[in-house]
């Protein structure tokens, strides 16, 4: 019965979502206060029903109810309990339900925390969120029902969760990623509500900014977790593959990064409003496009999509309605007039505009590269591949373009600045960047032009942040009061830019100085790699809860001193028969040592083994975490709380009361 209750709750969720879409929106145009006030309880009811539905699906997984198709296909009685839990979203239907849960959670959060918005705005934002909910709950119910039954032939046991996904990383990666991916729907809803009301102003930017920053921060962490998971779980030591599925989550991030910066300008200066709205629409549309690419099967081949188009068509139509509808609304309502606010060539506005240009170009490039093979295939022009060599070649220079501007952006004034004011410290940072670039590579493997360049760029960014603090301190004697005066938004920016600098160094160093060796090792044999001596002690059989396999032992020494003992595994899962490589990693702040086992070779206990030395690889995830963390810090800004109080007496509320 549990599954039927779950299905019933999902149907109720669809009904409440329809109500949430229609009633407050109608009321906002009819001036019906009671109707607008219904938005909050409807959002609460919607969230409750989806949560019940999700909880019941989870129960079915935990109870091994193999009469459900998804449970039978993605779980097994031997699976450890916490993986049964994460198996809920380790499949299409269940992950769609997670997606819906996250969407409704965001909707409910807006209902709770933005209650101080003007009533009309509040009703419309929630109504737009409700409409998105209708789209996705409908998708789940009509094309991907997670509660479908296997009756009457109930299998005795399930086919098991894909071993790749039997990992702690999978427990947290999808929810965090979805929080970001779906979170852009809030920015979208604010943009649409503002367009409907014809009121795009600084207040609107201030309301939607914390939501956008939060979604962006989640997306950053989600992508970071995915990259980390791929690194240790897939067994070949890569961390970013420019795979279409990765690009699907990366495009909204790129557009979202532009949005986060452009919102800052709109809030502070009341300019770039139409542009910011367009970016909010674009970020969410790219999330939807990613969903379409990934769920429709179109990536496998255009023809596979044409053969079984149900799911793909649903999302495609939904995507076209959302994008088309919002662009029409945009064309009708976006203010075209110049706001009459001046800014000079040298001003923070111009620098942030440059940021937007670069991120937009990066987004379009990734989009074009991802869609190119699909377009050519659909047009019958033959099959093409666009992969990492292409994306790296175009993406890296684009990101490098950002750096010169990042080094002066933090201390450039709004509206108009004179370079004379900061010329001196800027020279100091330029020179220190040059010196650091020339010297620091010697801490590693010696001079390397790419590493030098990356250090130069990173130090230029960091020196720019430092210069800003110095300029802010000018005149006062103590640091503490100066530091305390800075807003949470400011510290968020500092952390995020610092994280970006770390990522630049890490990506370059690990690409340039990574040492990788594939070799045959018999027990007792040693191999030297970047100053480390790896000794293979042979492999022995192991048994896990739902797998059997071999575990090798490799000790690592430096000059006879023991550094690490690594135990890579080769597993075969019982239910599916799949083979998995479990790499063993000795993680460190300055380097990772990575060992993976290939195949047993011959009778003497020899194995093919892959050894990696990966300098500074961890800085990438630390850097990305700092970026996401910076996004979260901005939420603490007092400004957002104070504004919500001020909004209560704002003119629009009086006018519409």
């Amino acid at each position: 019965m549990i599954a039927e209750y779950g299905l019933f709750a999902l149907i109720m969720a669809l009904i409440t979502a329809c109500g949430l879409t229609a009633i407050p929106m109608w009321a906002s145009f009819a001036g019906n206060g009671a109707g607008m006030n219904a938005a909050r309880p409807l959002a609460a009811a919607n969230f409750t029903f989806v949560a019940i539905s999700f909880a019941l699906l989870t129960t079915a997984f935990l109870q091994d109810d193999f009469s459900l198709v998804v449970v039978a296909n993605n779980s097994n009685s031997l699976l450890p309990a916490f993986y049964k839990f994460s198996a809920v979203w380790g499949n299409h239907e269940g992950s769609m339900l997670l997606w819906i849960l996250v969407l409704c959670a965001w909707t409910f959060a807006v209902a709770l925390f933005s209650a101080d918005l003007p009533q009309i705005m509040y009703a419309r934002v929630l109504s737009v969120m409700g409409a998105i909910g209708v789209g996705f709950i409908g998708f789940s119910l009509f094309t991907s029902n997670p509660f479908a039954r296997n009756l009457p032939d109930v299998p005795l046991d399930g086919k098991d969760l894909n071993p790749l996904l039997q990992d702690p990383g999978l427990i947290i990666h999808p929810p965090v990623l979805y929080m970001g991916y779906v979170g852009f729907s809030v920015a979208f809803a604010f943009a649409i509500a503002a367009l409907l009301g014809g009121r795009l102003d600084a207040a609107w930017a201030r309301w939607s900014r914390p939501w956008t920053n939060a979604a962006w921060a989640f997306l950053t962490l989600g992508i970071m977790l995915g990259s980390w998971w791929a690194y240790y779980e897939l067994g070949w030591g890569g961390w970013w593959f420019w795979d279409p599925v990765e690009n699907a989550s990366f495009m909204p991030w790129l557009a979202g990064t532009a949005l986060v910066h452009s919102l800052a300008v709109t809030e502070k200066r009341g300019v770039f409003k139409s542009w910011t709205v367009l970016l909010a629409i674009a970020s969410f549309s790219l999330s939807l496009l990613g969903t379409f690419l990934v769920r429709s099967g179109v990536l496998t081949s255009v023809h596979a999509f044409a053969a079984d188009p149900e799911r793909g068509m649903y999302i495609l139509v939904f995507l076209l309605v959302v994008v088309g509808g919002s662009l029409v609304l945009y064309a009708l309502r976006a203010p075209a007039v110049n706001s009459g606010i001046r800014n000079a060539w040298l001003s923070r506005e111009t620098l942030l505009l440059f940021n937007n240009v670069v991120f937009l170009v990066a987004t379009l490039t990734v989009l074009f590269g991802t869609l190119f093979p699909l377009l050519m295939d659909a047009l019958g022009q033959g099959k093409y591949s666009v992969g990492p060599p292409y994306f790296n070649a175009v993406f890296v220079p684009l990101m490098a373009l950002l750096v010169p501007v990042m080094g002066i952006g933090p201390f450039t004034r709004w509206r108009e600045d004179r370079a004379k004011r900061w010329m001196h410290p800027a020279w100091v940072s330029a020179v220190s960047a040059l010196i650091a670039g020339a010297l620091l590579p010697f801490l590693g493997q010696g001079f390397n032009v790419w590493v030098a360049l990356s250090v130069l760029l990173a130090v230029w960014i960091i020196a720019g942040l430092w210069t800003d603090l110095r300029l802010k301190k000018a005149g006062s004697h103590a640091w503490w009061p100066v530091l305390r005066r800075q807003s949470a938004s400011y510290w968020g920016m500092m952390f995020a830019h610092l994280g970006f600098a770390m990522c630049i160094i890490s990506v370059t160093v690990v690409t340039q100085w990574n040492v990788e060796k594939d070799l045959r090792m018999s027990p007792g044999q040693t191999a030297d790699l970047a100053g480390y001596r790896f000794e293979f002690h042979g492999a022995s059989a192991i048994t896990g809860p739902n797998f059997r396999g071999d575990e090798g032992v490799v000790t690592v020494t430096v000059d006879g001193r023991r550094v690490a003992e690594l135990r890579p595994q080769k597993r075969q899962y019982v239910a599916s028969g799949q083979i998995m490589t479990e790499a063993a990693i000795d993680a460190g702040f300055t380097r990772d040592l990575y060992v993976a086992m290939g195949e047993a070779l011959g009778q003497d206990g020899a194995w093919s083994v892959r050894l990696h030395y990966k300098p500074l690889v961890r800085w990438m995830w630390i850097g990305a975490t700092l970026i996401g963390f910076g996004g979260f810090i901005t939420l603490l800004d007092r400004r957002y709380r104070r504004v919500s109080v001020a909004a209560r007496q704002s003119p629009e509320e009086l006018a519409h009361a």
């Binding site: 992950s95 998971w229 990765e246 240009v357 670069v358 937009l360 590269g369 594939d518």
Partner: protein, 149 residues
Amino acid sequence: MRFCASLFLWWLTLPVGAVIETYEFSRPELEVRYHQLVEELRCPKCQNQTIADSNAPISEDLRRRLYEELEAGRSDDEIVQGMVKRYGEFVRYNPSTEGATRWLWLAPWLFLGLGTLAMIGVTVRRNRSVETPRDYASDIAELLEETKE
């Protein structure tokens, strides 16, 4: 189908596990080129994998061929061209700078050019616009509009 595989069910077609082979090269620079080329060639039969990552028999063949051609002294270009002749453009992850794929290489710089022009246009206009009491200008405009309504 690697990192978001979790979300998207793509892994169904994915053979898991690192490919670890131990070719012995006569010269170390050949090994460097080998590692570069296996990352640029796509397994013709797989979902979305380089021949470096794929366990499929065809990838094994291609790696062996690559190894032999490198040892035979062929240049990178000759090797890639040979592969393209046999398997089509599909086999190269690094698209050619000629033919239809040249647009891939041009597009980012076209986008950047357009973006920069737009940025210059906007800033020229803003730089010229008459100073109104800043920060309040938009609010005043909106208040005026509201009174009109």
